[in-house]
Amino acid sequence: MFDAAMTGLLDVLSPHSMGLMLIGILIGFVVGVLPGIGGPVAMALMLPFTFGMEPIHVFAFLLGMKVVTSTTGDITAVLFGIPGEATSAATVLDGHPMARKGQAGRALGAVLMSSLVGAIIGAVVLALSIPIIRPIVLAFGPPEFFMLTVVGLIFMASLSRGQMLKGMIMGCAGLLIALIGIDPQAGVPRYVFGQLELWEGLGLVPIVIGLFGGPEIVQLMLSKESIAGKAVSRNIDGVWQGMLDTFRHWKVVAWAGAIGSAIGVIPGVGGSVSQFIAYGQAKQMSKTPEEFGKGSIEGLLAAGGNNNAKDGGSLVPMIAIGLPGSVSTAILLNAFLISGLNPGPEMLTTHLDVTFSMVWIMIIANIIVVILALPLLKPLARLTFTEGPILVPFLLVLTVLGAYAENNSMFDVWVMLGAAAVGIVCLRFNWPRVPLLLGAVLGDLCERYLFLSTSLYGWSWIQRPLVILLGMIIVAILFKTVWDVRKSIRRSSEVRA
């Protein structure tokens, strides 16, 4: 195993691999900063260029690109509140408030370093879990997947602790939004109102961009102030401080990385859930949970640390049993097959060096990103002090491109506008947006796994041990949330008295 690890490292460090990795990283950097054209689109566009390449070169190029887009997608989330992908939504929650407080440099430094640490955790999990992962992945059936989606939703409700009922309502609304389109089980169109564009459902990227980016732009247009506004702090030099924060709060990053890689392993559930579970977990652990959502460094580190760790986890089932857990891993699986590799036992025996090369690529590519991004962070952070009206046209273009680019559809732009209107109403009347988003992300999975569970096992699936365990976790989260709320009500009653 050690020999295979060393062979994998030497292969990755060869000039050819490093050159291709650098090209992939540069493309990924540019593409990742543009919302909407996330890792999957960039990888799909570049896949034809890999024909005829050696497997390690293919992964140096594609995987290098993929891990970079995850990291750089967080940059727009922090600076402008416009997440590049649905998986960057949790970064907005605390990263953007920090930018608004004039701490964009610190936020960028923190998200960059926590992403690196998260990626290393994910890579280590990938390396360690390869021999034991098959039985673990196979132990999860539809009932467990269904319960995991419910855990994600309940975690979300616990995050909107100040307004849990509103959170539950928005979660239900989000789940219903996810059901728009053709019912995959019976082929019946639902909530489509005769519109052909709705048959495939609403795209997640336009919803994310509209919900978070739309209100930001309108707010800038109304206030005509910079993103950082009248922030007391104008600390664009805080990049190093942000990086140090990663190590100061190492427990938060380690937990987020562990959650990301563990949930990333489970095919289909992926990063959209794990980011919020990691965020919620960090909030539960924090000594200052009231700071979450206002620019808490712990919240940002949890989101950042989770983001890249899940990529390592998501590779595990693809390598071990050829089961891709996301669009990106499905494209990587294509690359596997094109380059003549078959996922499964041979990746753990004859091609173990290739498997380890993927581990090394994840680590090395992330280190290179940090080195490349460092000189850019200060100028990027300075953007948050630019007058609002100057930024508005640029941000409008970003949102339009983000919404349009995924399907080249004007309909998605209108969806984004609708989501922006909903986001503005939510903010105006204090309704939480995140449960709505998570519901929209999870609705499809939730229904599919519930359908499969009842079809396969009737209602006896609720007696499965892992389901019971996950049910106990849900009850514990609810109990703790209600307990905390009661405590805070009692405390504020005492203060007012």
């Binding site: 566009l45 732009v413 709320v485």
Partner: protein, 193 residues
């Protein structure tokens, strides 16, 4: 205490907004439930489950709103309504949420303070951009919008406007059309349809 009357106006407006939003969502949930009647049982099961849960939560929310608006306030008067709210879980939570929103609270304040004229101006610019994009396409409306917006709102000099146009529309054209060969939104007037 002296500023209590000033505080009640936005509070009333927020309450009214809460009522409208809650009732609108209730309407959506009921419609979502009714629409399931014509679907096969397996298709309707999950949407029914969700819409019923949503209706129940919304009825709880309405009860909570009614308590704040009529019950709590009538019993205790406006200033001490927040204390009364503590006897009801969600009402208290909503009140706390208002103060405890962090970044969202800043947005909330900006949206709440803007007058109708400012809102109308902003909506005008948004309509110009998206309407223009629908009609003539992104690459045509973008330079027009950038120059108009920067000149009128940001009072930027022409030099900045031109650099801005080249930096956005030009770069976008180079990256999307020339390098990635990805289409950009075309207007209905120029798409040849």
């Amino acid at each position: 205490m002296t500023n209590a009357p000033m505080a009640t106006k936005p509070q009333k407006r927020a309450e009214l907004g809460d009522w409208i939003f809650t009732l609108a969502l209730l309407g959506v949930m009921i419609a979502a439930y009714v629409m399931t009647f014509n679907w096969p049982a397996s298709t309707a099961f999950f949407p029914e489950l969700l819409s019923i849960a949503g209706i129940l939560f919304l009825l709880m929310k309405l009860a909570s709103l009614a308590w704040t608006t009529f019950g709590g306030r009538a019993a205790l008067g406006g200033a001490s309504a927040s204390k009364a709210a503590h006897s009801n879980g969600e009402v208290a939570l909503a009140a706390e949420g208002d103060e405890d929103q962090g970044n969202e609270d800043e947005f909330h304040k900006v949206f709440a303070r803007a007058d109708r004229r400012t809102w109308a101006e902003v909506m005008g610019w948004v309509v110009m951009f998206f309407g223009g994009m629908y009609l003539v396409g992104l690459l045509v409306i973008l330079p027009v919008f950038i120059i108009a917006y920067l000149r009128v709102v940001a009072k930027a000099p022409w030099r900045v406007c031109i650099i801005y146009v080249i930096g956005t529309a030009g770069v976008m054209y180079a990256v999307f059309e020339l390098f990635l060969h990805l289409p950009l939104p075309e207007g209905i007037l120029f798409s040849g349809e």
